[in-house]
Structures are given as structure tokens and as C-alpha cells.
Symmetry: C4
Subunit: 250 residues, 4 copies
């Protein structure tokens, strides 16, 4: 079963770098996790100290749901209760994203209900919950449970004056959702300046969401994000390889 | 007649990459089409699965106006009725753009009438129509016909909470128009924050538009967009070519 | 006297590329000019067809104040009356900039008086004039004279729903002024969202302006702009040179 | 004691380049300083003429608290009283940052009290002071003393229509604070458009601040900023090295 584990780690590291370079980087803060493929009481999680945009598979740690580190050279983030308590409560969730992107974090400060103004907005047509018990970090199992409870069956939750938590069945789904959540709020930001936004009503939003965000279409969006990441990463990778060659020749 | 067909495809792919890298990319969504040069009941259209910014001529598909794919390895986008129904209704249209750029999409959520605040605004001085029958995707011939009817004789139409459709006699014209539509709304966005915008009145706008947007001037703008694309594409192209050489030497 | 002429051309082309890559590019539109060093009834001006960011000395044309092209392979822009009529009226002006940067153009749509909210704002503490006779292009000597009259003794003038004209004794001064005018309006844009801006009052603004914007300090800012341009231009220049070598080896 | 001095200079130059490339560059304006490690009545300070983003250790000057230059080939900035008078008043301060980043400078024009809307906002939960005695440059010891007095025991002070001064015990702390001050105001900017921001109340902000901004965590953020700078600087460094080789071969 080694191969699937490597594949999940590779994909989770890719998801970290995609979101990190798409506006979710906040220095070394923010973290993603995914259930391990072989054991449902374990997760891989971004280790502490690096930016999301820097994560490679070896920077992940393996944690069990008793909060013990099983594997990995890095320390876990103090907010691991966010991940563990959501996995315990939501058997359908395979990946958890917690980040502080600019527009969604600013939105979390307004306490508003997000309503759809564009295509991706309909993904979040069922009003996303709002966690405001604390604005502080989620560093105890109790806070993690409160947050998981507030999340309920939703796809994401806003953390007041803090950021977002987004979940998905797969790494692909959670990543695409987190990307689109930030993007839809960016669109709302522009719309708010231009005039009074009109919403897509609930019924149409749900129908539209079913059409646009099927499993295969979300996977195609993930593939697009992965190719765009490669476009951003390739120049420095190639130049660094050139630099090593030039150094050898000296 | 092979050469012109290749030339149209090359130009359409270029238009996709220009708009994709000028703020019209929305993952793998959005699409452009152009009539084939030899047969007016056929169109080339961006195939499914790639970003606009990635399109090469071989990623285009050929579709007839009975909705049948004639050529091409990719699947067509589900929204092909937008293109076909507009071509059927507008003999003057040779190219159709459907994208979701940030500012124009946000504008589509406000239902406002676009009025000119800068030079390029006068291109759209005759109030652009607003399609709000649905906010969902345009996936049936019926919806395509409704949209084409709403477009009427205009250069573009806003799709509520969705995006824009822009048309032109040529690929150059439709591309420049789509680029300038997004840009003029970006200017309006800034003006709205700075104060109460004053419009250029209709009569002057029309006269100004005739002066700035003649055929040769639109072609010169297209050429500028094409050169700027080359500036953006060249670094990675050269580095990838270097990478292949370095790999061979190893 | 050949050398100084070459030096003025080199500097004017540099000014075009600086402003072009600092937010003043608007496809192939916008233009700069400078008086020739040897004859005060002649000017060098950006030729038609290229973006500001692309201009090299050989893309300039030489025009006399009777509107005749004396030298250069390109056509002049239709708006040359802006330049000629200002030079005729203002013996102190050695360089004229006409561009459409985003924030300043948006500001021109509001008809407001610009007041200083930051350091560079004080450069424009004496209220800049506002030209709203037409919003159309300035393509006749009459319109050029009206604009030059409206400019009066000021450093710059807003053209309603069109853009800005900025002048300076030297290329360095006009370029730095145009750069800072856009920048100060960008700051105002942000301030307008954050709250109600407080202005620096006229007397203090004038004193502050004399301290910050002396000739040597403006030259030092020009040098900073020129070095930053080199940072932006160097990668592609080096890569293109590499590409030529790789091509030769094949 | 040579080595520590070199290390402080290297770190101060790095801090200049980090902030310069993170939105604090304003042409050749803005400056950072740090106390020398061996003598508390001396400071290293960015010399005049370069952008923050260009600073290398050899561009620093050494100044004593009697305003005399002790070492260095460049001239000091005229605003050195900001630095000297703060060091004289605040024995705990080891590094002073004075810059004009876009959002914080715009905020300085509003005279508002900054309140926390996101994680980094809590770092500045104790209302930052506002200096509005003058908006002009701080070029006399008297003005420097007034500013230092207004700063009091705070981490930073807004200079009306001018910019910010941020202090820290170490270079790392002052740099991270300056970076986060600009970032938190950027978040506030977006929140202001999206709706009415809710603040994190003082008590929770203080507790949250103690959790997030411990010494080790601030150092980890500094390390992240340093690695991200290397990502931005590496391409041109490698290409310039390639250019030198290509030139030699010709």
C-alpha cells in the first residue's frame, strides 16, 4: 500500500503549493491535511515552519486522532484540533483546508452572509456558517469541537477576524473549493464598489451548482490549477538547475 | 484553401491566450470561437479542458451549426449554443468571445447600464444589453437563441452573475473589444471609489468612438496585444527549451 | 552636436519605457515628447504603432512646430497638437507626457480637485486644472491651444474621461511627475475606502514640496526609476540572447 | 567583534530588501536602521540614493547619536533624527523602520484608530499613536524628539500624510511588524468595501497577540520573509551570472 500513500502525500503537497501561490500564503501560517488512504484514524498534515507555497511531501507529518505524531520530521501546527475534530465528526470529509486569504479573511470581519454574485458563488449558495465564539487560534480539542459543530454539514465556515476552513471529500475538491471561495469574494468586493449586487436566488443557485461542480468538472479545475502552478514553478526550478551547472564549471 | 484555415486557427488560439493572460482566464472555463474561412455554417471553437491561456491551434474543435463536431480531438464546451445561435442570427459576426473576467463579471451582478468614463468606454456608448433570463450556463439552443436575441445588434451583452459575451466581425475586433470592456469597467471601479463619475455624453461618445476605433486602429491594438503576449510567453518557452538541452547533456 | 541629440533620444525612449512599465501603458496609445537640444522649434516624439514600453530611440520621430515630420520612419500620433501647442506657449517646458494611467484617468472622470494625502501629493498642491471642453482626442491645433491655455503655468492637467498631460523642464522632471501623479491618486483611492482623508494644507504643502522635489532629488528619483526598469527588462533581454545562441547551435 | 557587526549589517540589508520588495519601496525613499552590536550610541542606517530593495551591506552608513557619520561611502538620509531620537528615548529599541507603504500611508491620511480585523491586527491592538504636528519630513532633532515622544512605548506610529515608523527590539521584530502593519491595513481596506468590520475586542486581542507573536514565532516569520525574498531575487541573480558568462565567450 506504499504507492497510494505516496500519491496522497504528493497531492496534498501540491494542494499546499497551489493555494499558497494563489493568494492563500500568509507567511508560514495556514495548513492543509488529508486522511491517510490506509487508515481512517490518521491524517497527513502540513508541518510547521514553512509557507504553504514551499511544501514538498517530506514536509508533511502524520498525526493520529489522539493528537499523537506518528511520523515526520517537522512539528505539527498548534491548530491541529481544527483538522482532527472535523474528521471525527464528518466521515465524508477527506481533506481540510485552513488558510487566511485576503478577501475571505476580510469578509470574515464583516459577519455577513455570503450570497452568489457569479458562477462560483453558487457553490456556496447554502449560507456558510460563521464561527465567532473566539477570534483566537483553535488550539484546544474543545475549540476544535465547537468549530466542527458550527461547520455542521457545510462546505466551509468563516472564522471571525481569522480566516476560513474549507472541507472536501477529496484533496481536489477541498482545494478547488478554497480557491473558488476566495475568488468569489474578490468578485463580490469589486461588485460592492460598482453598485448594489443582485444575487442568484437559492433554487437557481442549487441547480447551477449541480451543473458546474460535478466531480469530473472539479477534477478538471484541479488539473488546471496544477498546470498553472507548474507554469509558476518552472522558471525558478530550471534556473536553479542552471545555477548548479554553472557552479560546477567554475 | 488550407493556408487561410490554418491562419484563422492560429489567430483564434492567439486570441485565447491573449485574453487568458489579460484577466479573462477562469480556470478551464470561458471560450472563443470563429467562423471558418471557407464555409459559413462551421466554426472553430476552443475545446474543453484547458485554460484559455494554454490554447494552441490543435486544441480547437470544428463544429457545424447543427451542433455536430466535425473535427478535433477535444470535446466542445457545453455552452456551444452561445456561439452557434449568435452566428445564425448575426451574419456580420465572425468571432464570439464568452469569458468571466473579474471586473465585467462583478459589473454583471449590479445590473447597471455601462456609461463611458474613459477613452475605451465610448466603444460601448450605446447601452449594452443585459441578459437575466437565467444566471445558469447557456446549454440549450433555446437559451442560446434568447441570448442572441438579447444581444441584438450590440457589440456585447452582460450575463447576470455569470460574465460577458462579446462579438466582432473579425477575431481581432472581438478580442480587442473584450479586452477593452474589462479595462473600462476596471477604470469605472476606481472612479466609483474616487468620486461621482461624469459620463461622456452619447453624441460625443459616438464621434469619439468613430475616431479611435477604426478598423486599422483596432488591428494595431491587436498587434500590441500579440506582442505583449509574446513578452509574457517568451521566458518560459526559452527556459523550457534550455531545460530540454540540459536534460540531454546529463 | 550629435552626441547630445543621441543622449536626449536615449533618455526620451527610456522615459517611455519607464512609464509604460509603471502603469502608463495603454496598448499603443499615449506618447511623450522632448525638445531637441539644438533647436527649440523641433521636438522628438514617440512614433505611432508601439507601446510606450517598447520604445527605443529609433522609434522616435522628429517634428517641427509647423506640424511637419523632419525625420523618423514612423508616423506621428494624431495628438501631436498637445505637444506643439504646449511648447509654443511654455518656453520653460522641455518635455510633455500624455498618457492614460488607470487611477489618474479614473480621477479625470470625477472632476474633483486633487489635494495632497501623502508626500508626493504636495507636488501638485496648487490645484491642477481640468480640461473638459471635449473628452475626445486632441487632434487639431485649436484644441491643442485650448488645452495649453487650460494648463497655464501648472505642472499637469486632467483631461476629462481621457487621461493626463504632465510637463517638466527636463525629461527627468516630467517623467517623475507623471509617475508620482498616478501614485498619489492610487494612494487617494485607498484612503477614500479607509475613511475621510485629511489634506495637507496649502502652505505646508508648498514648503514640503520645496524640500522633497529639488532638482537633484528629482534626478535621484529618475535614476531609481531607470534602475528599476533595468531590473524588469534584464530577464527577457538575457533570455533572448540565450535563445539566439541555442538557435545557432542547433 | 568583527563578525557580529558584519552579521548585523547583513541582516539590516536583508530587512531593507524584504520590505522594499513587499510593498514598502517608494523610489529611493524610506530607510531602516539598527543599533550596532558593540556600542549602543551608534547605528547602521540605509544610505541615501538607492531603493530599499537594492540595499547591500556596503550601502549602509554608521552614524553616532551626535549626528556624525563615522563610516560609509554614502550620505545619510535627511530624516536621521527619526532614528537617533527614538534610540535615545527607547533603550529597548534595536531597529527602526520608516517607510511609505501604500495602504498604511493612505491610512495615515484618515487619522483613524487602527483596530484589529484579522490575526495580525491584534499585534497593534493597543491603539497606535498618530503624529500630526507636521506632515513634512522629520529633518531636525526637535521634530525627531516630538515624534519619539508621540511614539511613546508603542510599536509604531502613523505620520499624517507621510507614512509609518515601526520599531522593534531586533531587526527581525521591527521588519515583521512593519510587514504585518501594511498587511493588516490591506485587509481592512477590503473589509471596508465588503461591509462594516467587526473588531476583535481589546482583551481577546492582547491574549491572541501573546499567542501568535512570541519571539520564536516572529523569528520564524522573518525566516519565511527571507526565503520568499530569495525566491524573488534568485532569477535575476542567476540570469546576470549567465549573462556574464555569455559575454566572456563572445
Amino acid at each position: 500500500m506504499n504507492l497510494p500513500a505516496e500519491e496522497v502525500k504528493r497531492k496534498l503537497a501540491l494542494a499546499c503549493r497551489i493555494l499558497g501561490t494563489e493568494g492563500h500564503d500568509d507567511l508560514n501560517l495556514g495548513h492543509l491535511s488529508a486522511r491517510t488512504p490506509d487508515h481512517r484514524e490518521l491524517m497527513y498534515m502540513k508541518g510547521r515552519g514553512l509557507c504553504l507555497s514551499e511544501i514538498q511531501p517530506e514536509d508533511l507529518v502524520t498525526i493520529d486522532f489522539e493528537y499523537q505524531k506518528i511520523d515526520g520530521s517537522r512539528n505539527p501546527h498548534g491548530e491541529l484540533p481544527i483538522h482532527i475534530e472535523i474528521y471525527k465528526r464528518r466521515a465524508d470529509v477527506g481533506c481540510v483546508v485552513h488558510t487566511h486569504p485576503l478577501h475571505a479573511t476580510a469578509f470574515s470581519a464583516t459577519g455577513q452572509t455570503l450570497r452568489p454574485v457569479n458562477n462560483e458563488g453558487v457553490m456556496f449558495a447554502n449560507a456558510l456558517p460563521y464561527f465567532d465564539l473566539v477570534t483566537d487560534l483553535i488550539v484546544t480539542p474543545e475549540l476544535g469541537r465547537s468549530l466542527a459543530e458550527k461547520l455542521g454539514d457545510a462546505k466551509a465556515v468563516f472564522l471571525k477576524n481569522h480566516g476560513i476552513v474549507v472541507v472536501g471529500e477529496t484533496i481536489e475538491e477541498a482545494t478547488v473549493r478554497a480557491y473558488l471561495l476566495e475568488k468569489t469574494i474578490k468578485t463580490l468586493f469589486v461588485a460592492r464598489v460598482l453598485g448594489e449586487p443582485k444575487w442568484t436566488e437559492d433554487e437557481e443557485a442549487e441547480q447551477k451548482s449541480k451543473r458546474i461542480f460535478t466531480g469530473p468538472k472539479i477534477n478538471a479545475m484541479w488539473e488546471a490549477l496544477a498546470r498553472q502552478l507548474e507554469q509558476r514553478e518552472a522558471p525558478l526550478r530550471i534556473l536553479k538547475s542552471l545555477e548548479r551547472r554553472l557552479a560546477k564549471k567554475t
